[in-house]
């Protein structure tokens, strides 16, 4: 296993390097000038060329890419790593912007995943206890609804009901654990539904398998069979789902963050592209890819933890 981890870590810079090149190329060739001020006065050409010099953008994409990489790998006088300044927020450094919003997204994302795991596991297990029963059908129905409803709909409904009508939760912001409840539920419902289906289907399958039947025939109670033997196996697909889900949920959701006014990463994904903020685009994409690769690695390790039969 240690060898596998080493090997994967070695591939890491290569993967990131390729992502960097592709992103830089795309960010460079998309039309639109990052230094434009679309609704206001045109910035005079001499000022624009001064700005281009200032941002190291006057020497073409390769020159820019190399100096950007230098900042990431070796850092600069502003510290390590340095993802450069933001072109939109003139006095911010990209590293501070990501540093400020990534923990927010991770926090929201892990709460959402907790919601997803809790609801998903419980309703999946309930469904599997009596396949075809009322509880099973209703939990499947709810799961279907959870998967099909986009989160701006769930979010708006939760906001209108629990913040608007009942005033049980704050309408938005990022000030206390109370502020996390509604967005975490909004963000967690879709993966919860997915997990519920995975657990329910896996359990039903395993519960009717030969070895469980044999165990039951020898007198093992249904609960014991389910919780101690079947769930373990049924959870494996959930785990492989959790890796990418964690990466995507923890790097923020544009819709949920906007709706609940949460200063997370999701907003950067969209606005950096709209603003053609090349420093931020690169910073955000590199952060996201790093997390994605890391989470996949963690999931593979967790596989081994849950099921020691799996060799890595």
């Amino acid at each position: 296993m240690a060898r596998m981890i080493m090997w994967r870590l070695l591939q890491f810079p290569l993967i990131l390097g390729m992502i960097f090149v592709v992103t830089l190329t795309l960010a460079w060739i998309v039309p639109g000038d990052p230094l434009d001020n679309p609704e206001g006065r045109e910035i005079a050409p001499e000022i624009k060329s001064a700005l281009r010099k200032q941002y190291n953008m006057d020497g073409g994409p390769i020159h820019f890419g190399v100096s950007y990489l230098k900042g990431i790998v070796w850092g600069s006088e502003r510290g390590w790593p340095d993802f450069g300044p933001s072109l939109t927020y003139k006095e911010e450094r990209v590293v501070d912007m990501i540093g400020g919003s990534l923990p927010v997204s991770i926090m929201l994302g892990s709460s959402a995943l907790a919601v997803a795991l809790l609801i998903g596991t419980v309703s999946g297990v309930i469904g599997a206890l009596r396949p075809g029963g009322f509880l099973d059908l209703s939990s499947l129905g709810i799961a279907l609804l959870g998967i099909s409803l986009p989160n701006f709909v769930t979010g708006s409904i939760l906001l209108a009901v629990f913040a608007g009508t009942f005033k049980m939760f704050p309408a938005g912001g990022w000030e206390s654990p109370w502020h996390i409840v509604l967005p975490a539920i909004t963000l967690g419902i879709a993966p919860a539904a997915y997990i519920a289906r995975l657990v329910r289907l896996g359990l039903a399958d395993i519960m009717s398998s030969d070895y469980i039947r044999t165990a039951r025939a020898k007198g093992l109670s249904q609960h014991k069979a389910l919780f101690e033997h079947a769930l373990k196996v049924a959870y494996l697909p959930v785990l492989s789902f959790m890796g990418p889900a964690a990466a995507s949920v923890m790097t923020g959701s544009f819709v949920v963050e906007k709706l609940f006014n949460i200063p997370g990463m999701g907003d950067h994904f969209v606005t950096s592209v709209i603003n053609k903020d090349q420093f931020l685009i690169l910073g955000v994409v590199l952060t996201f890819s790093t997390m994605l690769v890391m989470f996949n690695l963690i999931v593979d390790v967790a596989y081994a933890w849950i099921d020691p039969r799996i060799e890595l």
Binding site: P31, G32, P34, D36, N37, P38, E39, G40, R41, E42, I43, A44, I47, A50, Q54, P85, T88, Y89, K90, E91, E92, R93, D96, G100, S101, P103, V104, M107, S110, S111, A114, L117, L118, T121, L159, A163, G164, K167, A171, G172, G173, W174, E175, S176, P177, H179, I180, F227, E228, L231, Y235, K258, L259, N261, P263, D267, I274, N275, K276, I306
Partner: protein, 582 residues
């Protein structure tokens, strides 16, 4: 197994409580919404209106412009004198004007700030406002050339920080020689401008002319050995602990994309007049979240709601919804180049075609049925009433008259509108521009038979294509920067960078030049009026309507808030009553 899963879930749930989620917002006397984080707090580098509004709370200009009655009042300068020829201004800074750290405010701080805006090192978006000052533009180009030379040299021999510093010393001497600003003493500042400019005091009250605490800013400057440039420490501007200001408020606390918290500046000379002790700008970008925060009483004032929800709010007939006409005009630029970028002849090069298109737009219908915010239909580029002493020549603008429009097309050689080919409306998506474009397209088809296509793109793409004349008709808008007709009319002179229509009329240019040299302001306004009449006759752009801003506040709860055409609120006069939380 179940225990393991339960443990993981438990740990994840407890995270927010263990690590904590954000901080509670500070409590403030007056809370308002900003729909996006400020782009800059550096007065010389800012270009966005929200930033400029923020800056006017933190920094005080020599002249204080009250946008409610357009009066120019003493700000940091208690008085000023203007020479006979209108070219020399002497400002007398208040004896009791201090920086928030207790240092006296001096004329040197102003000179330092203005010089900052005049060098390419800073790349100030509004540097051109400083070019009104004698020698300002020349100094900019001097420094530009100096830096270019240095960079070339540095490539051959190696540059060094010391050399770059030496370069700046030279530039400083040059500045004293070239530029018409002079500190007579610590509290007296003399400025010589290129030529008489009636609105110079308006410029002086603009953000680019705000002072900065010279010692603090200079302390953060480093020099690039490679390019010779002076580089500011940009982190100074968003650090509440370091930022030193001279305005009514200080930046007390801020959190990126969450809030900016301003409290009364104890060193401000006029602190006694403040009606509140603290302001909180909450940054909320989503319409629904904004409304929810307002309805819950979390914020007192929403300065602008988006066009997407403005109509619904208006339709509800609420007392707290306010519509304010503002000093901006919604326009459709016409590409006036003789040939299009693809080499085809451009039908819009003929002013009669452009005017016909303008005359076929039913502006009243447009604002009544499409935009629906009671915007005033536009018959001039300069919004009526926005500049004192100026009455736009609305009679020269084409009114809605389909027959006259068809006649004009015939005169231009098109027996039928369908012969006018290759036109398309380029607009940036969002803010209802698509609906307006569809309506205009339909009007042109119906009244003229001219068929155009629609192209919705992102705003940065639209502006780039506008600049390279890669369009035929393009949606745009223009807000005045200062209360003078030239703030609008200048952008249609042949040489102006903002003139993306490539319309060029020597008579128009000559009138603007004559107006700029005219000493008598009544005559000057008459010349500008003549110029605008040409603009309205030849239609390099179609004027559709003047913008309005829809804002939200309860007049029973928020007192002292005056809305004006320049959306420049004076928050120091505002206070909220009946607030439950403080």
């Amino acid at each position: 197994m179940f225990k393991r899963i339960a443990l993981v879930i438990l740990v994840m749930f407890s995270l927010p409580f263990v690590i904590g989620v954000g901080d509670p917002m500070p409590k403030a006397d007056f809370v308002f919404v900003e729909d996006a984080e400020y782009n800059s707090r550096d007065p010389q580098r800012m270009t966005y209106l929200a930033d400029i509004r923020l800056a006017s709370r933190l920094f005080e200009t020599l002249v204080d412009m009250d946008f409610n009655d357009m009066s120019r009042n003493p700000g940091a300068a208690e008085r000023w004198e203007i020479s006979e020829d209108g070219r020399t201004y002497t400002f007398y800074i208040r004896e009791d004007a201090y920086w928030s750290n207790g240092d006296p405010l001096t004329s040197h701080d102003y000179i330092y700030a203005w010089r900052r805006a005049m060098i390419p090192d800073t790349a100030a978006g509004y540097a051109l406002f400083l070019f009104t000052i004698e020698g300002g533009q020349e100094f900019y180009h001097y420094r530009e050339a100096q830096l270019a030379d240095y960079a070339k040299q540095a490539k051959l021999t190696s540059g060094s920080e010391a050399k770059a510093m030496g370069l700046w010393k030279e530039a400083l001497e040059k500045f004293d020689e070239m530029v018409g600003v002079r500190a007579i003493d610590d509290k007296t500042l003399e400025v010589t401008i290129k030529q008489r400019t009636d609105y110079f005091l308006d410029l002086v009250s603009f953000a680019t002319y705000m002072p900065v605490h010279a010692a603090s800013v200079e302390a953060g400057v480093t020099y690039s050995a490679e390019t010779g440039r002076r580089m500011d420490d940009s982190s100074y501007w968003n650090n509440p602990k370091r930022l030193i200001v001279n305005g009514p408020y200080v930046l007390n606390k801020r959190k990126f994309r969450q809030y900016s918290y301003l409290t009364a500046n104890p060193k401000y000379w006029n602190r006694g007049s403040l009606k509140n002790q603290s302001l909180l700008a909450r940054i909320i970008s989503d319409d629904m979240a904004m409304l929810m925060a307002y309805d819950q009483g979390v914020v007192d004032y929403v300065p602008q709601v988006s066009t997407a929800i403005a109509y619904d709010l208006l339709a509800r007939d609420r007392d707290d919804v306010h519509v304010t006409p503002v000093a901006g005009t919604y326009i459709y630029n016409f590409n006036c180049s003789p040939k299009l970028n693809n080499g085809e002849p451009n039908p819009l090069a003929d002013w009669r075609v452009r005017r016909a298109l303008c005359a076929a737009i039913d502006r009243k219908q447009l604002v009544a049925k499409i935009t629906r915010l009671n915007e005033p239909p536009a018959y001039s580029f300069v919004p009526p009433g926005s500049c004192a002493g100026y009455d736009p020549p609305v009679e020269s603008a084409p009114i809605f008259d389909p027959q006259a429009a068809r006649d004009l097309l015939k005169e231009a050689g098109y027996a039928d509108g369908s012969e006018v080919k290759g036109l398309s409306i380029l607009y940036n998506t969002g803010s209802g521009h698509d609906k307006a474009a569809q309506a205009v397209k339909k009007m042109w088809e119906e009244h003229l038979g001219v068929v155009v296509t629609l192209e919705g793109v992102e705003s940065k793409i639209s502006s780039q294509r506008g600049r390279s004349q890669d369009y035929t008709i393009r949606r745009a808008g223009w807000y005045g920067d200062y209360a003078d007709p030239t703030s609008w009319l200048d952008i249609r002179s042949s040489k102006d960078e903002n003139n993306t229509t490539k319309w060029s009329n020597p008579e128009y240019d000559a009138l603007l030049v004559r107006a700029s040299k005219e000493g008598d302001s009544a005559v000057r306004m008459r010349l500008l009026r003549e110029a605008e009449a040409i603009l309205l006759r030849e239609c390099p752009h179609a004027v559709l309507y003047h913008y309005v801003v829809v804002s939200l506040f309860d007049p029973e709860k928020v007192k002292g808030l005056r809305l004006n055409a320049w959306t420049r609120d004076r928050f120091e006069e505002v206070y909220a009553v009946d607030r439950g939380d403080n």
